[in-house]
């Protein structure tokens, strides 16, 4: 899984990146929201964005909102958008000066952030959140077994019914689909 760390504080960026590397993940970094957007447009293999809330120019919530407009078409298909995790040092309290930022945290939950982690981050919390994301994405794996069974039944029927012309056309169609699948599989190597 590849994770993009977005934080305008160098120390924080470095710390969280090293943590993620220690957990065994690939990482990318961005210092600002606009830089993160450029990276996300270029690199559609980023699976998770770990972003700070309070950043100059563009905060973490705005980054999420703007990134939803990025076209994620790869070979005619739409790639899965990254999951977003928000980091913040803010904690709910009575300080009215934080109210605007606390409203952003509440909004983050509503608009689709997977999790909110409070700094200083508990490494185990971050690890657990990432495991949850990994598990959730593996659960959406497409059922290929049923598709193969159906294919096999169709071939049996074509042979039993002696439909030679139909079988020839079907072979061409399968070949085209296989070429498309092979091209996709080759990208992951």
């Amino acid at each position: 899984m590849k994770i993009l760390v977005v934080d305008d504080v160098g120390y924080s960026r470095h710390f969280h990146t090293r943590l993620l590397q220690k957990f065994g993940y690939q990482t990318e970094i961005a210092e600002t929201g606009p830089q993160a957007l450029k990276l996300l447009e270029r690199d559609l293999t980023i699976n998770v964005v770990l972003t700070d809330l309070m950043m100059r120019d563009m905060d973490g919530v705005e980054l999420f909102q703007r990134s939803q407009r990025i076209s994620r078409i790869v070979d005619g298909r739409t790639a899965e958008p990254p999951a977003y995790i928000l980091m913040t040092a803010l904690r709910p309290g009575n300080d009215q000066s934080q109210q605007k930022d606390l409203d952003k945290i509440r909004m983050a939950k509503e608009i689709g952030f997977v999790d909110m982690l409070f700094k200083p981050i508990e490494p185990e919390s971050l690890k657990a959140t990432l495991e949850t994301i990994k598990y959730a994405s593996s659960r959406t794996q497409i059922d290929t077994t049923s598709a193969l069974r159906k294919l096999s039944e169709t071939i049996d029927n074509l042979i039993r019914e002696k439909q030679h012309d139909n079988a020839g056309r079907f072979v061409d169609e399968i070949r085209q689909e296989l070429e498309r699948l092979e091209a996709f599989a080759a990208q992951l190597i």
Binding site: V9, Y11, A89, P120, P123
Partner: protein, 133 residues
């Protein structure tokens, strides 16, 4: 860990170690996933970051720039939090608040206390790391 050491930083603050309300080795190691090498790496980075931010804070207080105080206080709080959530962390948090509330008198007072506290923190972190090697 509680030996008395006086240290001086580039911005002119002095500090005396010898208190247990500054550095929390167990917490720091925990945040670095019990990896001493990582903690050592973070300690070096922290010193660089701290010096930069303290300079920025000193300038911001002198200029009366509340927003800059809040931003730099926030950044410093984040890095201090790796090593401790005790006094230096609390001071950085308070400093950030004074910036948000534009309470510049309190900013100046807190900055002086924070400088002292951070010198002790650095000293204790390095002592701890040296003792592990």
């Amino acid at each position: 860990m509680h030996s008395l050491i006086a240290t001086t930083d580039p911005t002119g603050a002095t500090a005396t170690a010898g208190t247990n309300d500054i550095f929390d080795p167990a917490e720091a190691l925990h945040r670095a996933c019990d990896d001493l090498e990582l903690l050592s790496e973070l300690a070096e980075l922290f010193v660089e970051h701290r010096d930069q931010l303290l300079t920025e804070l000193t300038e911001a207080v002198a200029q009366g720039n509340a927003q800059r105080i809040a931003e730099a206080g926030h950044a410093l709080k984040g890095s201090v939090g790796t090593f401790t959530t005790k006094r230096p962390f609390d001071l950085a948090r308070q400093l950030e608040s004074t910036g948000k509330e534009a309470d510049l008198l309190s900013s100046a007072r807190l900055l002086a206390e924070l400088k002292d506290s951070l010198m002790v923190l650095e000293s204790e972190v390095h002592q701890f790391l040296a003792a592990q090697n």
